[in-house]
C-alpha cells in the first residue's frame, strides 16, 4: 500500500470522523441527563445545514457569520423543542418520550420536504475553502483541515464548560439524579434546556461542515448521519463527551479506510456503524469511555 494514499485516507477519515463527533456529542449529552435517545438530533443537524444554506445563498452573509447565526438559532431551536415536546413528559413513561422524539424527527423531515422541496440543493461553498494545497504529495483542501481543527476547539470548549464552570457542574449532577439537583436549588429544566442548546449548536456546526464537504443540503440528510453518530456515541461510551468524539473518529476512519482498501464493499458502507453498534452492545455495552449509567442513577 502506497504511504501517500494511506496518508490521504487518514486526512479524509479525520474530516469525516470530526463531523460524526460533533453530532455524537449532542446525543451523548442528552442521553446523559435525560436517558433519552433524541431521534430528532440528526434532523437538527439538517436544520443547521439549511440555516447555513439560507444565510449564505439568500442573505449572502460570510461563512463565519453564517456559522455563528446557525449555531445560535439551532441552539434556541433545540431549547424550544425540549420546552414544547419533552418537558411535559418528564414524569411520563420513557416510551412516551421516545415516541415523541420520533414524531418530531419525522415532522422536521417532512415539513422541510414540503416547504423546502425534497430535491438536494447545492450548498454555496466559499471559494477559499476549496483551495487545495499539497504537502509532500498528500493533498489537503482547506475544508478538510478546518473541520478537525474546529471540532477539536469545540471539544475543548465543551469540556471546559462541563468541568470548569458551575453550569457544567450542574449538568454533571443532573446525570446522577434529577430530583436531588432540584432540591439543591438548581432549576433542572433550565440546565436541561442548556444541554439541548449546546448539543443542537454543535449539531448545526456538524451540519454546515457536512454541507461544505458534500456540497448539498436536503431534508433527509440527517437520518443516516444521525444514526451513525448515535452508534459513535455508544461505541465511545454513552454519557461521555470525550468518548463520543473518540467513537466518531473510529466510525469515520473505518468507513473511509474500508472503502479505500475494499472498493467493492462501497455499497455496504452505511452498514459499518451499525455493525460496530451491535458488536459494542454484545461485548462492552458501556463503550470505550463510558460508565454504567444505570448504576449511577439508582
Amino acid at each position: 500500500m502506497d504511504i501517500l494514499i494511506f496518508m490521504q485516507q487518514m486526512v479524509n477519515g479525520f474530516s469525516l470522523g470530526s463531523m460524526y463527533a460533533l453530532i455524537a456529542i449532542g446525543y451523548t449529552m442528552v442521553y446523559g441527563v435525560l436517558r433519552l435517545i433524541n431521534f430528532a438530533h440528526g434532523d437538527i443537524m439538517m436544520v443547521g445545514a439549511f440555516l447555513g444554506y439560507t444565510f449564505m445563498e439568500i442573505f449572502g452573509l460570510s461563512f463565519p457569520v453564517t456559522v455563528l447565526l446557525a449555531v445560535v438559532i439551532s441552539g434556541l431551536f433545540g431549547m424550544f423543542m425540549d420546552r414544547i415536546a419533552y418537558k411535559p413528559l418528564r414524569e411520563a413513561p420513557k416510551i412516551s418520550l421516545l415516541i415523541t422524539a420520533i414524531g418530531i424527527s419525522f415532522f422536521l423531515e417532512n415539513a422541510f420536504t414540503v416547504f423546502a422541496g425534497g430535491v438536494p440543493r447545492a450548498f454555496p461553498v466559499p471559494e477559499y475553502m476549496e483551495n487545495i494545497f499539497n504537502v509532500a504529495g498528500v493533498t489537503f483542501s482547506v475544508a478538510s483541515i478546518m473541520v478537525p481543527i474546529v471540532t477539536l476547539v469545540l471539544l475543548l470548549g465543551i469540556l471546559y464548560v462541563l468541568y470548569k464552570t458551575k453550569y457544567g457542574m450542574a449538568i454533571r449532577a443532573l446525570s446522577f439524579d434529577i430530583k436531588t439537583v432540584n432540591l439543591m436549588g438548581i432549576d433542572a429544566n433550565t440546565i436541561i434546556g442548556l444541554v439541548f442548546a449546546l448539543g443542537s449548536g454543535l449539531a448545526a456546526v456538524g451540519g454546515i461542515f457536512w454541507a461544505v464537504n458534500y456540497p448539498s443540503v436536503e431534508p433527509m440528510m440527517g437520518v443516516l448521519v444521525g444514526l451513525k453518530a448515535f452508534a459513535a456515541a455508544v461505541v465511545g461510551g454513552i454519557g461521555s463527551v470525550t468518548g463520543a468524539v473518540l467513537g466518531g473518529f473510529i466510525i469515520g476512519f473505518t468507513e473511509v479506510v474500508v472503502i479505500a482498501f475494499f472498493p467493492e464493499m462501497g455499497g455496504y458502507k452505511d452498514a459499518f456503524a451499525f455493525i460496530f453498534l451491535i458488536l459494542v452492545l454484545l461485548f462492552k455495552p458501556t463503550g470505550i469511555m463510558g460508565e454504567d449509567l444505570e448504576k449511577s442513577r439508582f
Partner: protein
C-alpha cells in the same frame, strides 16, 4: 346459588359466548366481503386486514412489553422478499432479473403459498432472535436505534444483492394469492394468538416488565426471556404480514419498506392506545381511512381564495403532528390499555 355454580362451571360463560360471536362474525364478514364487494373495496379491506396483523403484533412489543422498537419495516421487508422468492418460479425470475443472474438456489426454491408464509415468519423470527441477544442484554433503550438501523440495513442489503432480490428493480409478477380468505383468516388467527399470549403467564410477565422492570426482576421474572419472546413473536407475524403484502401487491421493491411503514404502524398503535389489542384494530381502521381521506392534503388546494401548489408529503406532516399531540395531551389514545371486554365490565359496574 345453584344457577351461579352452574354458569361458572359450564364452558359457555357469557364472556366466551361474546368472544365466539365476535369470531364468527369476523369469519362471516370475511366471506361476505369477498363475495359481495367490488374489487376496490376488497382491496382496501385486504390492506386493513394486513395492517391489523402488523399493528397487533407491533403492539405486543411496543405497547404490552413497553420496549420501544422500530422494527416493522425491516421484518415486513424480509417476509415480503422471502415470499416473493418462494412464489416466483425459475422462468419468471430469469425473465426479470436484469442486473445479475439469480443464484441457482434462489431459482430452485419454490413452495406453495402457505409454506411461503410460514417460512417468511420463521426467518423474520430467527433474525429477531439474533438481534435480541445484543439488544436485550442491556436495558431495552438501544432496541429503538438498533431496529431503526436494521430497517436501513435490510434496504441496503436488498439493493446490493441483485442476485437474490433483483436489487432496486425489485421482484415483479408475484402470483396474486392474497385474497380476503387469506388476509382476513390470518388476521383473525393473529389477533387470537396474540390475545392468548397476552392473557397467558408470559403476557402478565410482559406487562410487569413494562410497568416496572426492576420489580419484575425482583419477582423472579427473566426479563431477557420475556422481551425476547415478545420481540420474536411480533417479528414472526410481521414476516407473515409482509408475505401477504407481497402476494397482494404482486410487485415489491426496496422503496416499499422505508421507515414510513413503521411510522404508520406507530401512529396506529399510539392512537388506538398503547397496549390494547382492541385499540390496535380500531387504530388501523381509523388511520387507514384517514390516510385515504387526507389525500386531498397532498393535492393543490383552493384555501379561502388562495391557490396552493400540490404539496406531496403534507399528509405526513399532519400525521407526525397528530402523533406528537396525542403523546402530549392524550397519552392513553382511544382505548388506553383496555380491551373490549374491559369496557363491558365497566358498564356492568356502573349499573
Amino acid at each position: 346459588m345453584m344457577t351461579n355454580n352452574i354458569t361458572n362451571d359450564t364452558i359457555f360463560t357469557k364472556q366466551r359466548i361474546i368472544n365466539l360471536a365476535i369470531i364468527i362474525t369476523a369469519i362471516w364478514f370475511t366471506h361476505f366481503a369477498q363475495v359481495t364487494f367490488d374489487e376496490y373495496t376488497v382491496r382496501i379491506i385486504n390492506n386493513v386486514a394486513i395492517f391489523v396483523i402488523l399493528a397487533v403484533s407491533y403492539n405486543l412489543i411496543n405497547g404490552v412489553t413497553g420496549q420501544f422498537s422500530l422494527e416493522p419495516n425491516g421484518f415486513v421487508a424480509i417476509g415480503a422478499y422471502v415470499t416473493a422468492i418462494l412464489l416466483v418460479d425459475a422462468e419468471g425470475m430469469l425473465y426479470q432479473y436484469d442486473i445479475e443472474d439469480p443464484y441457482p438456489w434462489v431459482l430452485a426454491l419454490q413452495t406453495n403459498f402457505l409454506w411461503a408464509l410460514i417460512l417468511s415468519g420463521t426467518i423474520s423470527a430467527l433474525l429477531a432472535l439474533s438481534l435480541s441477544f445484543p439488544v436485550f442484554r442491556v436495558r431495552g433503550d438501544y432496541l429503538a436505534i438498533v431496529t431503526l438501523g436494521f430497517g436501513f440495513i435490510i434496504r441496503i442489503l436488498a439493493i446490493n444483492s441483485p442476485e437474490i432480490t433483483n436489487g432496486s428493480l425489485g421482484i415483479n409478477d408475484i402470483p396474486e394469492y392474497s385474497n380476503l380468505y387469506w388476509t382476513g383468516g390470518i388476521a383473525i388467527f393473529t389477533v387470537l394468538a396474540i390475545l392468548n399470549i397476552i392473557y397467558s403467564k408470559f403476557g402478565r410477565a410482559m406487562k410487569a416488565v413494562r410497568d416496572d422492570e426492576d420489580a419484575a426482576t425482583a419477582m423472579g421474572i427473566n426479563t431477557f426471556k420475556v422481551k425476547t419472546l415478545a420481540f420474536t413473536t411480533s417479528a414472526f407475524f410481521e414476516g407473515v404480514g409482509g408475505g401477504l403484502l407481497a402476494a397482494l401487491l404482486t410487485s415489491i421493491s426496496p422503496d416499499l419498506f422505508t421507515f414510513f411503514l413503521t411510522f404508520q404502524l406507530l401512529i396506529i398503535i399510539v392512537l388506538g392506545g398503547l397496549g390494547s389489542t382492541t385499540g390496535a384494530i380500531l387504530g388501523t381502521i381509523f388511520v387507514m381511512a384517514g390516510l385515504e381521506w387526507m389525500r386531498f392534503l397532498d393535492e393543490p388546494m383552493d384555501f379561502m381564495g388562495i391557490q396552493t401548489d400540490a404539496m406531496p408529503g403534507m399528509r405526513m406532516v399532519v400525521f407526525s403532528l397528530i402523533l406528537i399531540v396525542v403523546m402530549l395531551f392524550a397519552r392513553e389514545g382511544l382505548m388506553g390499555k383496555k380491551e373490549l371486554k374491559d369496557l363491558f365490565k365497566k358498564k356492568k359496574a356502573n349499573k
